[in-house]
Amino acid sequence: MGLPNASEDLSSEMEVDAFRRLFPLRYFERHLAESIRPDARSLSRARNTTISMGAVASADGSALAKIGSTTMLAAIKMEVMTPSLESPDEGCVSIDFHMPPICSPLVRPGRPAEAAPVVAKQLSDTISSSGMINLKELSLVGGKAAWMVYLDIYCLDADGALFDAALLSAVAAFSNLQIPTVSLDDGKIVMLPEEQKEENSEKEPVNKEKRKLTLGGIPFSLTCILHKNYILADPTSEEESIMETLVTVVLDSSNQLVSLYKPGGAVLAYTSAVQDCIALTRQRVKELHQILEEAISGMEID
Amino acid sequence: MVGLSEGEQEFIKGGIAQDLRSDGRKRYTYRPIYVETGVIPQANGSARVRMGSTDVIASVKAELGRPSAMQPDKGKVAIFVDCSPTAEPTFEGRGGEELSAELSSALQHCLLGGKSGAGAGIDLSSLVVVEGKVCWDLYIDGLVISSDGNLLDALGAAIKAALSNTGIPSVHVAAEAASDEQPEVDISDEEFLQFDTSGVPVITTLTKVGKHYIVDATLEEESQMSSAVSISINRQGHICGMIKRGGVGLDPSVILDMISVANFVSRQLMDKLDSEIAAADADEDES
């Protein structure tokens, strides 16, 4: 550490805030040398994470996930479709990720953020790779009708680790999903009106039992920054902009590797670093699993 | 946009304060209004209205459509305004879009009434042919040819004149078809139904310059406004819509005062407009 640098000398004279803005990298490296981060976290510590279920009343399933101040709102809407000929007894899941202009000063209306389609693609890849959702469960009437699941995730506040928060909110929204009871009416699927649910007179619901999806291996992810020999878990957007090498590891609950995503970056990832990232993710998966369980049980008590 | 020197600005403001505007009018006097009807033969109805250098055309086109699920006993009306680049070079391309959208939405507010249809200038139930199945869709298009202020009032007047000029073909419905099929209809080429336009309101825009407000502001006067309130009022003196432009806040009592002024002024405007429309229709019949 400590290449002779002009900023080194200045740092004692300058105000902390000015130093942070002018020499962000050195500011961070000073912290890293002490194994601490500016927000008082240790290097491997993720930010405080919360999930609240059922945040959107008008959706069939929804959740709000917060990692630090990164906030994601995921909501699921179910629609009916005719399944394709290739897979007549499967439904379909369509995942979209939105970054509205409210979430970050870099996004302007009319111009979608560059990161949005990439995160959306990553999410749908991850969810389909993990096999969390059995598309066969989404079938209503074989070959005739199946559920089309629209999952929309809105980033309400972008402060780093967008993918982690988005995946968490998506997973939580799926565990919150209540499939509406529907009945067959004239060859068309319609929703059973509330008041008829008990009486159940003429129309028999086609999906009486299947009100919840059974989720397979649930994927959880952790994004880490590689910088020199340091590994920083769960970066903020400030950290992401200063140290550009990111590694996102997705593991499912049985510790299968669902994705290891490292798009370039100045730092090369060697075997040991990859192993360290995976180990950190293993721990994080346990944490997130517990947080999710608590959120679900909290929902049931209400 | 209007570029005015400070002297000119003061002149306009001072004139209004003394009730003598730069073109010699008083605060509540309109510029002379000329109405011409039937200017577009292809349309079901059309009219051209000139107020000073402001020049607009409105046309009404009727097409058979299907009533909305929410209101099976009503026809549908849509209003669109287009700003021609002849009025202002900056309207070229997408330049006029913002103004067009603002005018369209203001006209919809002022002429089409509430959701249930109450207060609508146009009786939407008269447009239904077969309830729930066939109705007339009215497409009202406004075109701004030359702009010298007070576009909203001019467009409102032009639409009123165009509607009075509109003939809707009478329709004969063939024998009742099965309940969920579209009935066959026969449109007559000769018989036309005339619209009752007595309920159509007129729009009066009161532009506040300094402490006073004026009607029928020119472009130069509009550039000096602090805010403007457009009030649409019908024959009964009821308010049919209102919209405010310009950022500066208004005291509620001023708004109430404006309404009473508008009530008074609009009656004159409506009489003037009716006589102009009658004269124009007579002209058209002769020719």
Binding site: S62, E79, A158 | K76, L112, K115, G119, H238, I239, P252
Partner: protein, 279 residues
């Protein structure tokens, strides 16, 4: 019959299985029918419970979250910052507003697009309250996202026919306006006063304050006011439907009183946030 359009007119081959028969017919009530209960069992002159919170979005200069019953809105304020387009020199600041909806804001999944009309109405309601002279040459961006709309059937209608879009649903706009002014205050933008906005629906002879969208779709007329409560000035005013002058006066007074109350709630929310900060 009525459910048909959603499949025939939309491009995608999916539809929402909302039961068409469930649509409740308008609660027909005459002028004397004053005891009729509103869907959310409020009194006619009673607003929905309003809740504001500042600092909803960390990365914005200022932000606020508002919840009025089912209507949930987030507004972020960015700036004053460099103007986006290379625009003409201006010795006063610019205000740029944008309102958009999430795809799940309405019962039927929408497109989640920008709402041009609301954007320009929001702009008009706010510009009179902001002291634009304090940030020359720069822009303040006010972006609003409606997370959930107050339960509307408007978008169902929208799919049926393009012509119906001209029906104006003002429901969420007062919430957006009030929330935006709290967000502006949170961002430290200089303002003459907060802007509180309230709307009133007229059903028959009754006036319903702060209508939900179900009520709005059966209304005979509507009045929306955005005003600066302390200065007692109206910055924006929209009226549709037929009103006699006394009726109009009554509605306006109702709105002004309600916005004064709303203004107090907004003020106390800001005060709370400020005192929290000091501690």
């Amino acid at each position: 019959m009525a459910a048909k359009p959603s499949t025939t007119t939309t491009a995608k081959a999916t539809y929402s299985p909302i039961d068409p028969t469930r649509k409740t017919r308008p609660p027909i009530f005459s002028g004397s029918d004053v005891d009729w209960l509103r869907p959310d069992s409020r009194g006619f002159h009673q607003c929905r419970p309003a809740f504001f919170r500042t600092g909803a979005v960390n990365s914005a200069s200022g932000s606020a979250y508002a919840e009025f019953g089912n209507t949930k809105v987030i507004v972020s304020v960015f700036g004053p910052r460099e103007s986006k387009k290379a625009m003409m020199y201006s010795n006063i600041g610019r205000l740029n507003c944008n309102v958009s909806y999430t795809t799940f804001a309405t019962p039927i999944r929408g497109q989640g697009s920008d709402h041009k009309d609301f954007s320009s109405m929001l702009h008009k309601a706010l510009e009179g309250a902001i002291i634009l002279e304090t940030f020359p040459k720069t822009t303040v961006d006010v972006f609003a996202l409606v997370l959930e709309s107050g339960g509307s059937i408007r978008f169902l209608v929208k799919q049926v026919d393009e012509l119906d879009t001209l029906w104006f649903a003002v429901g969420d706009l007062p919430v957006v306006i009030s929330c935006a002014s709290v967000a502006l205050a949170d961002a430290g933008i200089m303002m003459y006063d907060l802007v509180a906005s309230v709307s009133v629906s007229c059903l028959g002879k009754n006036l319903l304050i702060d209508p939900v969208l179900e009520e709005e779709s059966y209304q005979d007329g509507s009045l929306m006011i955005a005003c600066m409560p302390s200065r007692y000035e109206v910055t924006q005013l929209t009226v549709t439907g037929e009103w006699s002058t006394p009726h109009f006066n009554e509605a306006m007074q109702l709105c002004l009183d309600a916005s004064a109350k709303l203004g107090k709630i907004m003020r106390s929310c800001l005060k709370e946030a400020a005192s929290d900060e000091q501690e």
